[in-house]
Symmetry: C2
């Protein structure tokens, strides 16, 4: 199965032609992001927490302090909706009604569980560092047992997911195209700026080859795509 099967929960109701349920589309949008927004419910109240996340096959991971209210609530096996959105452009039409945005978004549904096994937990955190910073684990100090204990890693298998994408120019009412009004797309892009070395950098330390993808001006999602380890084997069997 290379597509997520939509149910009432995940089926895109509005503008279904913008919807995608295949893993390739869903994963591409997830992997182009570092931040997601995790939604969960405590005592009937919705919370949406922005957090970094990473993916391995059908499994999504995020992490934080073991003292975090969010992570403690989710540890017990809580339904979550993990959403990622990329704003790609402003779409200026000839009527207010047809103004729009170009975007790529994913809503992924699952049940969050704490990663209890210490080996799996350490491996997940290593995978997160590797995903962002190839080669860096060889340069930094390893995690201590106390640091691992102070860190909670959550994961969920994607039970259902849907992607929604809009691209291209405005779509106006036919009679409006003649209006003497500028229309088109203002693209939006997230880029890497020149790195700022820590004022306390040890003498002689230089920018490492492993971070070469973080070149000034590079599109951030391209950097993420280049550093993300392909793990598609884990679900294609």
């Amino acid at each position: 199965m290379n597509a997520f099967s939509p149910t009432a929960r995940s089926r895109v109701k509005r503008l279904p032609k913008r919807a995608h349920y295949d893993r390739e589309a869903v994963f591409a949008i997830l992997d182009a992001a570092l931040l997601c927004h995790v939604g969960y419910v405590i005592d009937g109240q919705p919370y949406v927490t922005p957090t970094a996340f990473w993916r391995e096959g059908d499994r999504l991971y995020w992490h934080g302090s073991s003292a975090s209210r969010m992570l403690r609530a989710q540890s017990a096996g809580l339904p979550v909706c993990l959403t990622v959105a990329h704003l790609d452009g402003l779409v200026l039409a000839r009527s207010g009604f047809h103004h729009s945005l170009n975007y790529r978004s994913v809503m992924a549904f699952g049940t969050a569980h704490k990663v209890d096994d210490p080996v799996e937990k350490a491996a997940a955190l290593d995978a997160f560092v590797d995903r962002l910073y190839p080669g860096r684990r060889a340069e930094i100090r390893p995690n201590t047992a106390q640091e691992l204990k102070a860190t909670t890693v959550l994961s969920m298998v994607i039970e259902e997911a849907s992607a929604k994408v809009r691209t291209g120019p405005p779509v106006d009412d036919e009679e409006d195209y003649a209006l003497p009004c500028w229309a088109g797309v203002v693209p939006i892009r997230t880029i890497v700026d020149p790195a700022l070395a820590d004022p306390r950098l040890a003498p002689g330390v230089v920018w490492p080859d492993g971070l070469a993808a973080y070149a000034p001006g590079a599109k951030f999602e391209t950097v993420l795509g280049e550093s993300a380890a392909p793990t598609e084997e884990s679900y294609s069997t």
Copy 2:
């Protein structure tokens, strides 16, 4: 009262020194964003929907098709958590544990209601266009009654809100500063790219002065800040 009073729902538990509850800090982060993530609950299941939003004083607005499941659910007066997050940089430390992100985020809590009054609804949609595109309403075709009917506008008064901000270089364990390992910040920035005119642009139409802020290379949140109408009067009395 120029601060939101934190309760159990909105008080930042982790790293409270990163927390802010004053309106100035909360509004600055909200106004620097076009997209938010709205969390809500239907039958115990959390949903997080990315959507454009705008602010007037203590009131947040978002909108969409009247056929939208999200908007129909929220119309009845539903508790929501509206979250905004800006990723400002990757923080590379000398240990995995102290790696971090620079960010600005806001969680705003309230109860979503549909804007029923047609005059208020039309005014809200006008304010959204004005917020993004100064002067544009004079150039585009006005909304029809049918378009207004097909559009649902939601709003909520911010009952509580908290902001969380991290800036600056990594904070490492004292003994790790001597490690021969690059450390610092890789800044991330979202910018405007050159506009793409609609292939069906009417003859002789040029890029209007009102969109001058959308200059190629401009920081997107600066553009939003310049176009956002100040409405601080509405709460400072």
